[in-house]
């Protein structure tokens, strides 16, 4: 039982990072019908920029204290990623707005390679130690379950950001414009919505979320690396599809579910398959679930509206 609870906590921590990144995929897909494959690499840039900022702060303002340093580093990285997200949309995707679907998709893959290469040139191929500004020493175990302060921060921050995003989309003017653009951007622009601005805003918000996810990811594992965005990016994309791409609630559900499936899958796959499979099938297990869900619900768990888009 202790093991099951611990696996659930493990899954929720990983899953909430997936969910944050998945929101970025799903928002862009919902509005543009584009899978922005460079999204995972924004997470990586977010982590590495924060690392650089924190190093500089620790060098020039050593008295700042741990949490202010982290918040300052995070803010700088969020701003850099917002600018980066806007720049990518403006230069790489906007010109292809009316091109066949394949063109922006290939461009997205190109942007992903470009970001990785630039990061490799700046930060090298080595793994960097990410400063542990929030403690990674576990607190007193609750019911035998170990959790660290940084993991608690991840759970709380992800939940807060997700609620904030839902409120933004459902309650604000910007959110209404985003929903209108997603529904039909020609009609939305006829109604006086500046769709270019709305699409740019979508990229900016998604990139900010990815930056936060990147900083949390690196804080938890203590490392940062130029290729670190690939795996979380791929998993988050899977989570978005699992939940129903284009649907905010779906991305969150998909992310958490994927984290749980992976964690519990790795923990119990051997017993469930009577020793036939083992934890080297951890990733496959997640994709089997994805396959089964897509067979019975081709638009994902919560994806209704997407059917007529695709």
């Amino acid at each position: 039982m202790e093991t099951l609870l611990q696996q659930t906590v493990n899954g929720l921590v990983v899953g909430s990072v997936y969910a944050l990144v998945a929101l970025g995929y799903t928002m862009v897909y919902g509005i543009l019908g584009l899978i922005n494959f460079a999204h995972g690499d924004i997470l990586m840039i977010g982590a590495l920029v924060a690392l650089e900022a924190i190093r500089l702060l620790q060098l020039h303002a050593p008295d700042l204290g741990l949490i202010p340093t982290l918040l300052a580093g995070l803010s700088i990285s969020v701003v850099v990623c917002m600018i980066l997200g806007y720049t990518i949309e403006r230069t790489a995707y906007r010109r292809l707005r009316n091109a066949p679907r394949l063109a922006p998709l290939i461009t997205a893959i190109g942007v992903s390679f470009l970001l990785q290469t630039i990061a490799m040139i700046i930060w090298g191929r080595n793994y960097h130690t990410f400063p542990q500004l929030v403690s990674t020493t576990p607190i007193e175990p609750i019911a035998g379950v170990f959790i660290t302060p940084v993991q608690i921060v991840i759970l709380v921050v992800s939940a807060v950001l997700m609620v904030a995003l839902v409120l933004l989309v459902n309650r604000t003017r910007l959110g209404r414009a985003m929903r209108a653009t997603a529904e039909n951007h020609k009609v939305a622009s006829l109604m006086g919505v500046d769709t270019n601005k709305i699409i740019a805003a979508t990229f900016i918000i998604g990139s900010a979320l990815a930056a936060v996810a990147g900083v949390m990811f690196s804080s938890n594992y203590g490392i940062a690396h130029y290729a670190m965005g690939f795996m979380p990016g791929l998993k988050a994309f899977t989570a978005a599809v699992l939940g129903g791409i284009g649907n905010l609630g779906g991305a969150m559900l998909g992310g958490l579910l994927l984290g749980l499936v992976e964690s519990i899958g790795a923990g119990y796959i051997e017993d469930l398959s009577f020793g036939f499979l083992n934890s080297s099938y951890q990733d496959i297990f997640a994709f089997i679930i994805l396959g089964i869900v897509l067979i019975f619900r081709p638009t994902g768990l919560l994806g209704e509206r997407v059917a007529d888009r695709a």
Binding site: N10, V13, P138, Q151, I223, G267
Partner: protein
């Protein structure tokens, strides 16, 4: 001593007309980030040839003088093949090298085709000798021997009874872990858990939680430092108090840097080779090395010395410097080298294959007795 040495050299050159010069090749990185390792091994081979020349070697009735032809492979697989071909074309009778497995493996094919024996002082990949080339030899323990040694250390020195094993499913990590598991079974302490990850993973919480239920007193990870360090951290985060054991992929400065505060005296790793002060001829070798080259032994120079000596011993035994004639004798050499007894098994691996256990202590890796 310097004067005496100069005297020998002058005497050597003055009678060189009556001697046959035999070229021995050396290949390793002489430029780039690990140039110091390459240079170290080059000096080791050079010292062996100097010693043989000073003593005077007669093979097949001819007085022989050995010369070293050193080439720079930059630890790069492609450069290694070019360099190997250059050595073969220059007519070397044997090669000491290469330094890294990545260079040794592609180069070994060229030596095999040219029929030139090559003994590596420091490449530990099992793949090198698994190619079944008759010209490929090594004087250092390979990764499989390392896994077996770790099993002995874990059970005999560390007294671990419940060992859990994780590997990253790469040729290196899996090879190491499988060798360890085989030996553990033979020693009567089969692993209490066996889990898998990848060399791109960062989250190990799920597999560690599963292993935790088996209450291991030691966890072995077969893989590199970039995954090993986060794995060690996550062990602490999950409250697993077991000892951490790693192979040479974790025996690095990088491991200490990335794992940071998670490092403790409960962290161990193994590395092929034995430290200088544990070698039978280590102390004396280091002194002579310093005198000759003005620098201390870095790493594998004694292995390089023994590799060059093995070539010379085989030539003596065969009474010929022709690779085709002395190759069968190389298989049979057995002598007491600087690093220990030098003898090869059927695949060309070192029979003895010394491995050292390191323990983390006060910010660095420390060799355990």
């Amino acid at each position: 001593m310097k004067l005496a040495l100069a005297g020998v050299l002058v005497a050597g050159s003055s009678v060189s007309l009556a001697q046959t010069v035999v070229k021995i090749g050396f290949a390793g990185p002489l430029t780039g980030p690990i140039a110091h390792v390459g240079k170290d091994e080059q000096y080791g081979a050079q010292l062996a040839l100097d010693d043989a020349n000073a003593k005077g070697v007669t093979i097949g009735g001819q007085k022989i003088r050995f010369e070293l032809q050193a080439e720079d492979d930059q630890a790069d697989p492609r450069t290694a093949t070019t360099v190997a071909q250059r050595l073969a074309d220059a007519g070397v009778k044997g090669v000491v090298g290469h330094v890294t497995s990545g260079a040794s493996i592609p180069a070994s094919r060229i030596y095999e085709q040219s029929g030139i024996p090559a003994i590596t002082p420091s490449s530990t990949s099992p793949k090198l000798t698994q190619q079944k080339f008759r010209t490929t030899y090594r004087v250092i323990a390979n990764d499989l021997q390392q896994g077996a040694a770790m099993a002995r250390f874990a059970t005999e020195v560390l007294k671990a009874k419940r060992i859990a094993v994780i590997d990253d499913r790469t040729a290196y990590g899996q090879g190491l872990a499988d060798a360890l598991v085989d030996s553990l079974k033979k020693l009567g302490t089969p692993p209490v858990g066996r889990e898998f990850t990848t060399d791109k993973a960062t989250d190990f919480a799920a597999i560690l939680t599963k292993l935790k239920a088996a209450q291991p007193d030691a966890v072995f990870y077969g893989g590199m430092d970039a995954q090993g360090a986060p794995l060690l951290k996550q062990m602490k985060q999950l409250g697993i108090g077991a000892k951490y054991l790693g192979g040479d992929g974790a025996c690095t400065a990088e491991m200490i840097k990335i794992a940071g505060a998670a490092m403790s005296s409960d962290v161990y790793c193994t590395q092929a080779g034995i430290p200088m002060d544990k070698m039978p001829g280590g102390k004396e070798f280091n002194e002579r090395f310093k005198k000759r080259f003005g620098v201390s032994v870095q790493l594998y120079a004694p292995y390089s010395y023994d590799a060059a000596t093995a070539l010379i011993e085989a030539m003596k035994a065969a009474g010929s410097t022709d690779p085709a004639k002395y190759l069968p004798q190389l298989q049979k050499v057995s002598f007491k080298g600087v690093t220990g007894n030098i003898a090869f098994d059927a695949s060309g691996d070192s029979r003895e294959g010394g491995v050292t256990l390191y323990q983390f202590n006060a910010g660095k890796w420390e060799a355990r007795p």
